[in-house]
Symmetry: C2
DNA sequence: ATGCAATTGCAAATGATTTGCATTATTCCT
DNA sequence: AGGAATAATGCAAATCATTTGCAATTGCAT
């Protein structure tokens, strides 16, 4: 995981090569994403960024997300509710488990599952380009965990 | 896989128990879905049904899909493009591979993957409620397949 | 056949995302 | 530093799939 400053610098380089410009808004949004440890949606990113720059618009957030995605700087996920959520792309590939009660997103990665997916695709005569694996799950009662009150 | 008439009868019974009514539109849409061998979206279902009943409205399709889903008669999927696609629920659980070139949807099922998912969830302290597994893939050149013309 | 509640069709509302356009900001070049 | 060229922004309006309010219709139990 590289630092935020480096991330900004790298992105600025990519922009320059594409004839695009590094703006205050892009810098800010990129920073917000680099600092985020969750999977915020556009509005969430906007809200956080807005505190640093109250002139920022939601349109710019959307446009920037698209740009960042096209540059491979972030990843976009659409979980069950349909809204796009984002995360920076500087981590190894992983999939997500979503707690259906709390909405909490837990990341995991399984080489076995990845291999199995490739095998299945191959058997069907395909090669995987990308995939989506989401587990919607409920917390398991931990053995020895304090009992929940019944019979009030 | 049971017959269409039976499907309609079963659904009518479920409706009666819920104090709901079997209407011409619901009968028609259910039939369309039972005959469908793909994963049509609301507009697609509407188009097919409209040929049998030009007074049908898209709203009714949406309302009916929601009802059918709540009764467990159909399943809803939202692939990458975001629109909801439906299929009847009288088949065994399966996941989908989407051909990124053609959009074709191929069904598959893998007990190994299902087991692996459950194991992963368990290790994280969760029990899976439902999941989503989609492979976006490209057709593999078949060994011995007729060569594509090059150098025209 | 009658009556009431469920359902429908239509149009308008929603909510997330995109887009047109006039204005502003970056870059590049003297 | 100053200016031109044009990319990017903010805002409002447009999209697009889906939902919803409401008045008119229909299904179904009596
Ligand atoms: Mn993640
Ligand atoms: Mn299917
Ligand atoms: Zn994966
Ligand atoms: Zn599965």
């Amino acid at each position: 995981m590289i630092g935020i400053e480096q991330r900004v610098a790298i992105f600025e380089g990519q922009l320059k090569q594409a004839g695009l410009r590094m703006t205050q808004q892009r810098r800010l949004i990129l920073r917000i994403l680099a600092e985020a440890h969750d999977h915020p949606d556009a509005k969430g990113i906007f809200t956080r960024a807005f505190e640093h720059d109250p002139t920022l618009s939601l349109s710019t957030v959307y446009r920037t997300m698209k740009l960042l995605e096209s540059q491979g700087a972030i990843e976009r996920h659409a979980f069950e509710d349909g809204v796009s959520r984002y995360e920076h792309a500087d981590q190894q590939h992983h999939d997500h488990l979503i707690d259906v009660e709390t909405g909490q997103v837990v990341e995991f990665s399984s080489p076995e599952i990845e291999a199995l997916q490739a095998k299945i695709a191959a058997e069907l005569g395909y090669e995987i380009v990308r995939h989506r694996l989401e587990l919607y799950a409920r917390k398991l009662p931990k053995a020895g965990r304090k009992r929940v009150k019944k019979d009030v």
